[in-house]
């Protein structure tokens, strides 16, 4: 419940910040009576108000949320996010094939795969998808330093 209040509190603060930011949207010439800022301001106001309500509502209004975040699991989650983010960053530089191979090994290990099957999966997956998309389906993928 406490963590939920923190989350909705953050949403409320962000909503308020964006509300103030939205006030600065000015059109050089007015084309319509509403203008570009009314709708965003309305939305941000409603978001902030709902988030404030969710943050301060009495305990009886909460429905139990089970997070189940153990230290071990949080570690794995962070590693997984990290692996996928690195995958995104090296997607062009290393090229699709190498990046996908590395990502598959990292993520596969996180999902309790053994090294050899995971590496084989990575090789097959990266080669096949590259061939399928770049060659057969005409979706261009970066080759990186193979290019």
């Amino acid at each position: 419940m406490k963590s939920e209040r923190i989350l909705t509190g953050i949403i409320a603060v962000c909503g308020l910040f964006l509300l103030i930011y939205a006030c600065s949207f000015e059109a050089p010439i007015s084309y319509d009576p509403v203008g570009p800022k009314a709708f965003p301001i309305l939305l941000m106001g409603l978001i902030t108000a709902s988030a404030v309500y969710l943050t301060v509502r009495p305990a009886i209004m909460f429905e139990p949320v089970e997070l189940g975040w153990t230290k071990h699991l949080l570690g794995k989650l962070v590693l997984c996010v990290l692996a996928l983010t690195v995958y995104a960053v090296i997607f062009e530089g290393f090229g699709f094939i190498v990046a996908t191979l590395l990502m598959t090994i990292a993520v596969g290990k996180l999902f309790n795969g053994k090294t050899i099957p995971v590496a084989i999966t990575g090789l097959v997956l990266s080669m096949c998808t590259y061939y399928l998309f770049d060659r057969v389906l005409d979706v261009p993928l970066p080759l990186g330093f193979f290019g």
Binding site: V34, G108, F111, G113
Partner: protein, 500 residues
């Protein structure tokens, strides 16, 4: 008989060899996506959407593909529900109640075959419903002006919060966030940049695919990390793999009732397959003369939710095609797909793009037949898909998702944005914030704002235009009632809790 002619025309398009093949592939992929626990129709449609677009498929083929995937998921969800007691998607939650006990009694074959026939009948009845109702609704909706549209979209969003959720404010906040996300980028009317923080990557707005894949695919990968290994398929071998005539007739009335409940709840924005199957199941249990076997392996308890969730999936096409307001999260994604092709769904769609609309409707029926044919003999093959280890499955999902996002603009920014959205989506889901309303809001956002601004331009800023016609007044009243409903419900709930 105009409608029959249009329908024949639709079948002509949908039966072209290319589209038939696409429907087949979609049905196949859909079934697999549906049966994998965690992956539901939104994920399936979201992952396939960028490809349909990148491949340069014509819009009717792209929609046929997505529709087949959607229906396929509703078929596939039941397989893992029956065999493993793990619903493959949210619409199959009720199927576990009687499906799994049947499988434990060695009647897995009967349960699987009866449920696929229930699904088939559900979709068929909903198909007939679409053919009968959709053109009428579209004709009626053509009288809608911008003010009525604005009221309708408010109604759609309120419907979501008031009807289905136990946590109305969470649903509301998500729908609002979706609306807000749609304002990111250059304002179409004035050219002002909104919420871009001077980033070039955001100046075009957030691409629909990036949002959907981030929210549903990346966050799903993180959620899957939490689940421990799912059980193995250990089943007693039964004598029969097909139900008999007596069993079919004992469930027939249930199937028809379930289909009707499903179709009508599918039409309501936001209610969708999950609510439909729960409603159908509880109705059947209440109506049954002898309900002692419900939850222990009653065929009716299996047939009701399965017919309802497929009927709801088909029914949710009605508001999307006729009003431009999607009836479920998945149809919201499909509406986004239409908009990627520069087609704005709405009542004009029936008169301006009759071939497209009727081909889509016809393809629902064709996809349905393909699915029945696929599902009866291939159920063993699909069941084996459940034993693909997650260390193979997850990298495939990640790769395909990233390729899909990369294909839009070929830049890294979109991939990182997608990751950010995915992490945010994961955290929100952990705290029971539903994501489907966000997609609905995102899809409706631009339409809602432009209709509001158009209406106020017509009236030169006079707000009263928003409630000047009987249609819009009616919609506002219904919205107000729906807003009050959850508050009253919550109040009664608290009062009851206090008295205990």
């Amino acid at each position: 008989m105009d409608i029959l002619n249009f329908l024949m025309m639709g079948f002509e398009v949908a039966l072209q060899p290319q589209n038939l093949l696409i429907a087949f592939i979609g049905a196949f992929i859909g079934t697999i996506v549906g049966l994998l626990p965690g992956l539901g129709p939104i994920n399936g449609v979201a992952i396939l959407l960028p490809f349909a677009y990148a491949l340069g498929l014509p819009v009717d083929s792209a929609l046929i593909l997505l529709a087949a995937v959607y229906l396929g998921c509703e078929y596939g969800g039941r397989i893992s529900a029956i065999l493993l007691n793990v619903p493959g998607d949210a619409g199959a939650i009720m199927t576990t109640l009687d499906g799994y006990p049947l499988a434990q009694q060695g009647k897995a074959g009967i349960a699987l075959s009866l449920s696929s026939v229930s699904s088939f009948i559900g979709s068929t009845i909903a198909f007939i419903g679409i053919v009968l109702f959709a053109p009428l609704l579209a004709k009626w909706a053509i009288a809608f002006g911008p003010a009525e549209y604005f009221a309708l979209m408010v109604f759609a969003i309120v419907c979501l919060t008031g009807l289905v959720s136990t946590q109305p404010f969470k649903t509301l906040i998500m729908a609002l966030m979706g609306l807000a996300l749609s304002t990111v980028g250059m304002d179409a009317i004035t050219g002002v940049y909104r919420f871009t923080f001077d980033s070039v990557g955001l100046s075009d707005g957030i691409a629909f695919t990036t949002l959907v894949i981030g929210l549903f695919s990346v966050s799903e990968i993180l959620l899957m990390l939490e689940r421990t290994t799912i059980g193995k398929v250990v089943l007693k071998q039964g004598k029969r793999s097909l139900f008999n005539v007596k069993e079919f007739f004992s469930a027939l009335a249930t199937i028809i009732r379930g289909s009707l409940i499903g179709f009508f709840s599918g039409i309501l924005p936001g209610a969708g397959a999950t609510v439909a199957s729960a409603m159908a199941y509880t109705t059947e249990r209440k109506m049954a003369r002898d309900n002692s076997q419900f939850g222990k392996g009653d065929l009716r308890g299996l047939a009701a939710p399965e017919s309802a969730n497929n009927a709801a999936a088909c029914g949710s096409f009605v508001p999307m095609l006729t009003l431009g307001v999607p009836g479920s999260g998945t149809t919201a994604v499909m509406m986004g797909a239409l908009m990627m092709y520069n087609i704005t769904p709405g009542p004009q769609l029936f008169s301006e793009q009759p071939t497209l609309v009727w081909a889509l409707i016809a393809s629902l029926m064709i996809g349905n037949i393909i699915l029945l044919v696929l599902n009866l003999p291939l159920v063993g093959f699909f069941a084996r898909m459940l034993s693909v280890p997650s260390y193979i499955l997850i990298p495939i999902i990640a790769t395909v998702s990233f390729v899909g996002v990369y294909a839009i603009h070929s830049n890294i920014f979109d991939l990182l944005l997608c990751m950010g959205l995915g992490v945010a989506g994961y955290v929100l889901r952990k705290f029971d914030f539903p994501l489907a309303p966000l997609i609905l809001g995102f899809v409706l956002g631009q339409l809602m704002e432009s209709n509001l601004r158009r209406a106020l331009s017509i009236s030169q800023g006079e707000l009263s235009i928003l409630w000047s016609s009987p249609i819009s007044i009616g919609l506002w009243i219904m919205s107000a009632l729906l807003l009050i409903l959850p508050i009253v419900r919550k109040y009664l709930f608290i009062k009851k809790q206090k008295s205990i």
